[in-house]
């Protein structure tokens, strides 16, 4: 948008600079602090920079295992959210206003409930003698008490409940932007319900699915309250290990190493995904 009379850069500059300055000071500076920490010797700056903490990580397949579990869980959580979230978003986008409103409340309410409390709810449901066990038993599907507490499946269940809203809401945003005529048009061209879904609705909701699943992935890979409460101490994940290093082992340098690793791994997955989807989005 060119403008006569005024310099073009001035308006965006004034709009952007407070935010950028804030981010640099309040976010990148602290984050950088952690990065530096990961290279510092135990004695602080006096010791100079060192790679010893990274060596500890690489030499140790325990933490590689933790990293792998975290990654695998995040991918399963993200995939589950996609599989449940996409049809739900489609149903919401096509429901009448009343049902849609109800579903949005249904989706937003849990999002806004304290994690600690919500996880407590899961403890009750997933635990031995809890609601799930009881329900399955009443249905005759199992004969002894089962517990999803302290299992990977339990983590996935609880995390999906926490993160599903992010996926559904962003996907819904994309779906709402699809002109309804498109679906009708392909119906008149001979496409049935599912083919219209496949050829029109799905490809056109890709931007929402992508940003939603990125969000879910980033939030699940870095969450620790729910995984540690539901998964327990025997299924450590990265963020929990970082917390543990900070507050239990007091090895901040190693905590920083784990943080940097986690971040790098997240970026390694997210950046190509974002670039690929930008290419796809660019086609629309």
């Amino acid at each position: 948008m060119a403008r006569g009379g005024t310099a073009q850069w001035r308006e965006p500059f004034f709009l952007l600079s407070p935010g950028v300055a804030f981010l640099v000071l309040a976010f990148f500076f602290p984050a950088f602090q952690m990065l530096v920490l990961s290279f510092l010797g135990k004695g602080g700056l006096a010791d100079g920079l060192t790679l010893e903490h990274y060596r500890k990580l690489v030499a140790d397949d325990f933490y590689l295992g933790v990293a792998w579990r975290t990654f695998a869980l995040s991918i399963v959580i993200t995939a589950s959210s996609l599989v449940i979230g996409f049809p739900l978003a489609v149903i919401m986008s096509r429901a009448g206003p009343g049902v849609r409103r109800l579903l949005i409340v249904l989706i937003v309410l849990p999002l806004m409930t304290s994690v600690v409390i919500r996880t407590f709810g899961w403890l009750v449901i997933l635990g031995p003698g809890g609601g799930l066990s009881w329900a399955l038993k009443s249905l005759g599907l199992i004969d002894r008490q089962i517990s999803l507490m302290h299992t990977e499946a339990g983590i996935v269940v609880a995390m999906v409940q926490v993160l599903l809203p992010f996926l559904v809401l962003t996907t819904l945003g994309s779906l709402n932007r699809i002109p309804p005529d498109l679906d009708r048009a392909v119906r008149t061209m001979g496409a049935g319900f599912f083919r219209a879904l496949w050829h029109v609705t799905l490809p056109l909701s890709v931007p929402g699915l992508v940003s939603g699943s990125l969000l879910v992935f980033a939030l699940s890979i870095s969450s620790f309250i729910t995984p540690s409460l539901v998964g327990g101490v025997r299924l450590p994940v990265m963020a929990g290990s970082i917390y543990q290093q900070v507050t239990g082992s007091f090895d901040w340098n190693f905590a920083a190493v784990l943080s940097v690793t986690l971040l790098a791994a997240t970026l390694a997955l997210i950046v190509p995904y974002m670039m690929a989807s930008a290419r796809m989005g660019g086609r629309q």
Partner: protein
């Protein structure tokens, strides 16, 4: 108005803390005490992050972190003559002063908690944890994230023949019962597991047994024949703060007999002030007196502090699936 910044542990603990110490102190000295709710490990983390510019004047630790903090120079040493109530204390409660840590103003005692309905006969030994009768109903607490859990692990290790320099026997014992046990990280989960009938027996603190009883659960504390562990609850002076005098007054105030008795009455923490006299019902639910104290084990705080990171790693690996 002078102010003092301290930490407390939140919940009913903090409420009692205010009643017994904080509010009376404010009234007596006409000062303001600001409280930050933070558990020991979080407090230490904060102290470390603020090494050059701490916000706390006095910090409370439960479970032994004061030694670590002292070793890192985060605490200021206290001289016996700076505490007017020094002489009223059991020796173990002020032994740390030499090493630069503050006095224990009360203690939690680690023993075994058991479900009185599922287990009519109280367990008598730490080794009972391996008794097949309790299979699938043993509840352990994470030793890396929870200091009571760590002390319990050290006691098991001791009973299994290990030492502070070698915890392999303890870990081996724990590994052997792992398939039939549950490990939790936080105390609310202990409550949850007892309430749902999943837990019958659990190494944990005497005061928490009282919390569970108060909540209506059929839980009792027992001190096994090998004894229990003292989990120190200390009040410490933070280094590098300007108002040392007032902070010392607060610490001295914390270890007075009234306070120590109050902790026992309200939450069943065991007194560290010898002059405390307790009603019988309370006395029955705490570990009190020279004789009882003799049954208690105190692990060397310095060694714990030194070995802690290593133990954490070993423990975490031992239990990880």
């Amino acid at each position: 108005e002078e102010t003092l910044v301290i930490n407390s542990f939140g919940g009913s603990y903090e409420k009692t803390h205010r009643d017994l110490v904080i509010t009376p102190f404010e009234e007596e000295y006409g000062v303001k005490v600001k409280v930050i709710t933070a558990y020991s490990s979080d407090t230490l983390a904060q102290l470390r992050a603020q090494k050059d510019n701490p916000q706390f004047d006095v910090v409370h630790f439960s479970g032994g972190l004061e030694t670590t903090a002292a070793a890192e120079g985060l605490l200021a040493p206290i001289k016996p003559e700076e505490l007017t109530h020094y002489d009223e204390m059991y020796p173990f409660a002020v032994a740390g002063l030499d090493k630069g840590v503050g006095p224990m103003y009360s203690t939690a005692v680690i023993g075994l908690l058991y479900n009185t309905e599922a287990v009519p006969e109280a367990p008598t030994s730490w080794k009972d944890l391996a008794d097949p009768a309790y299979a699938d109903h043993v509840l352990l607490t994470d030793a890396a994230g929870n200091t009571y859990g760590m002390l319990g692990m050290l006691m098991i290790n001791k009973v299994a023949g290990g030492t502070l320099d070698d915890i392999t026997p303890g870990l081996d014992f724990i590994k052997s019962i792992l398939p039939t046990s549950t490990i939790v990280a936080k105390s609310p989960e202990i409550q949850q597991n007892f309430a749902q009938g999943n837990a019958w027996i659990a190494p944990y603190a005497q005061d928490y047994a009282y919390t569970l009883t108060k909540a209506g659960l059929p839980v009792k504390f027992t001190l096994p024949k090998e004894g229990g562990v003292i989990a120190p609850i200390t009040v410490n002076l933070v280094a590098g703060r300007p108002n040392r005098e007032l902070a010392l007054k607060f610490i001295d105030f914390s270890i007075r007999a009234e306070a120590s008795r109050g902790w026992a009455e309200a939450l069943r923490y065991s007194p560290t002030n010898r002059t405390v006299e307790l009603p019988d019902d309370v006395a029955a639910e705490v570990t009190v007196g020279e004789e009882a104290a003799a049954k208690l084990v105190t692990f060397d705080a310095e060694t714990i502090s030194k070995n802690k990171p290593e133990w954490n790693e070993a423990w975490t690996r031992a239990i990880a699936r």
